[in-house]
Each structure stands twice: as structure tokens, then as C-alpha cells.
């Protein structure tokens, strides 16, 4: 493996290791989400760059571009979904206001009000208004 590609690959591997250490050492679930999703994704970008330097073919370059684009699109979405779903089920240490709890109360109150004015007997849900 040539020098430039090898350097990128080692940098990406070090980023993945830093992310792994962060997942173990952080004491809060929401902090672990940051470490587990951001650092390996950036490591993937660096390693893909290094492998593209090494291989150099058009097929490898296009496949690696597709891989990086897919990871960038899907990994933050999945971890955000997991963090939002685990709200209220895991213990968190917040240093500010719990905005999701506040918003859930607001949505529940809004759907309560709309259910009363509609006269329907549907049970109010804690789901946010649809897109």
C-alpha cells in the first residue's frame, strides 16, 4: 500500500478507535450516541479516501463514493431515531432543559384540545404532528 493511502487508512482506524473508547468511557447514553455514530463515520470517510488512493480504478472510486454517501445518509438518521426512541427509558444526565419532554407534553395537549373540539372519541397520542 502506498504512503498516502496508508496514512489515510491509519488515520481512519485511529478515529474508529477513539470512537470506541468514547463509547466505553462516556457515562451517559446520549453522549455515547455522539461517539458511536460520528467518529466511525468520519473514520469510514478517511479509510475510503485511502483505499481510493490505493486502488485508483473508476469502479473502486464509484463504489467507495456510493458507500460513503450511503453511510452519511443513514447512520445519523438511525442513531437519531434510537436516541429519540430511548427518551424516557434510559437514564440521562442533562445540563439544560429537557426539550423533548416539553415538546411531547405540548403535542399531547394539542391533540387533546383538537380531540375535544372535534368531538371524536379517539385517544390522544403522543405522536408529533405529521409532515
Amino acid at each position: 500500500m502506498n504512503a498516502v493511502g496508508g496514512l489515510f487508512v491509519i488515520a481512519g482506524a485511529l478515529l474508529a478507535l477513539v470512537g470506541a473508547i468514547g463509547v466505553v468511557r462516556f457515562e451517559d447514553f446520549l453522549s455515547r450516541i455522539h461517539a458511536a455514530s460520528k467518529a466511525p463515520t468520519l473514520g469510514l470517510i478517511l479509510v475510503a479516501t485511502g483505499v481510493a488512493f490505493e486502488l485508483g480504478t473508476l469502479l473502486a472510486f464509484s463504489t467507495l463514493t456510493l458507500l460513503v454517501a450511503l453511510q452519511l445518509l443513514t447512520a445519523p438518521v438511525a442513531t437519531h431515531m434510537l436516541g429519540r426512541a430511548a427518551h424516557g427509558h434510559v437514564e440521562v444526565h442533562l445540563d439544560g432543559e429537557d426539550e423533548l419532554a416539553r415538546d411531547k407534553l405540548l403535542w399531547a395537549a394539542a391533540s387533546n384540545a383538537s380531540a375535544e373540539t372535534d368531538g371524536s372519541g379517539a385517544a390522544p397520542s403522543a405522536e408529533p404532528p405529521g409532515p
Binding site: G5, P40, A60
Partner: protein
């Protein structure tokens, strides 16, 4: 140089595995599994760079998508049933 990178990636995978085993709740384990799959993709990419095989590159595309689907499924499960 690839052996150094593979050693670092193996260490990162072991450290993620610790969180998978130890995580006090289900979302912790799901997050660590997502990171573990990304680290596995890193390792296979290094191997693909070493051998020049395009089959390995096509395989890790599927692994990335599968990890996204798995994490989303666990998120929906946690939302309905609780951790």
C-alpha cells in the same frame, strides 16, 4: 502499514464489543452494534485495498444498509415496548 491499521481496527472492534456486552440497556447495545458494524466495514475496506477485489467493496455496501435497517428496527421496537 495495513497490518498496523488492521490491528487498530481490531482493537476498536473489541472495545465496541465491551459496550455490547456491558451496556446496561438495549439502546446502548444497539448503538454499540451499529458502531461495531461500521468498524467491520472499515476492516473489510482495508482488506479490499490490499487485494484490489471489487467483490469486497460490493459486499460492504450491503453491510452498511443492513446496519441501518437493524438500528431503525430496534429503535421502533424500543419506542413501542420500552428499553
Amino acid at each position: 502499514m495495513t497490518s498496523i491499521a488492521l490491528a487498530i481496527i481490531s482493537a476498536a472492534a473489541f472495545v465496541f464489543m465491551y459496550r455490547v456486552l456491558r451496556g446496561p440497556s438495549l439502546p446502548d447495545r444497539a448503538i454499540a452494534l451499529d458502531g461495531l458494524l461500521t468498524v467491520v466495514v472499515l476492516g473489510v475496506l482495508v482488506a479490499a485495498g490490499e487485494t484490489g477485489s471489487s467483490l469486497l467493496l460490493a459486499t460492504v455496501l450491503v453491510v452498511v444498509l443492513a446496519s441501518f435497517v437493524a438500528t431503525s428496527a430496534i429503535a421502533r421496537f424500543v419506542e413501542r415496548r420500552g428499553a
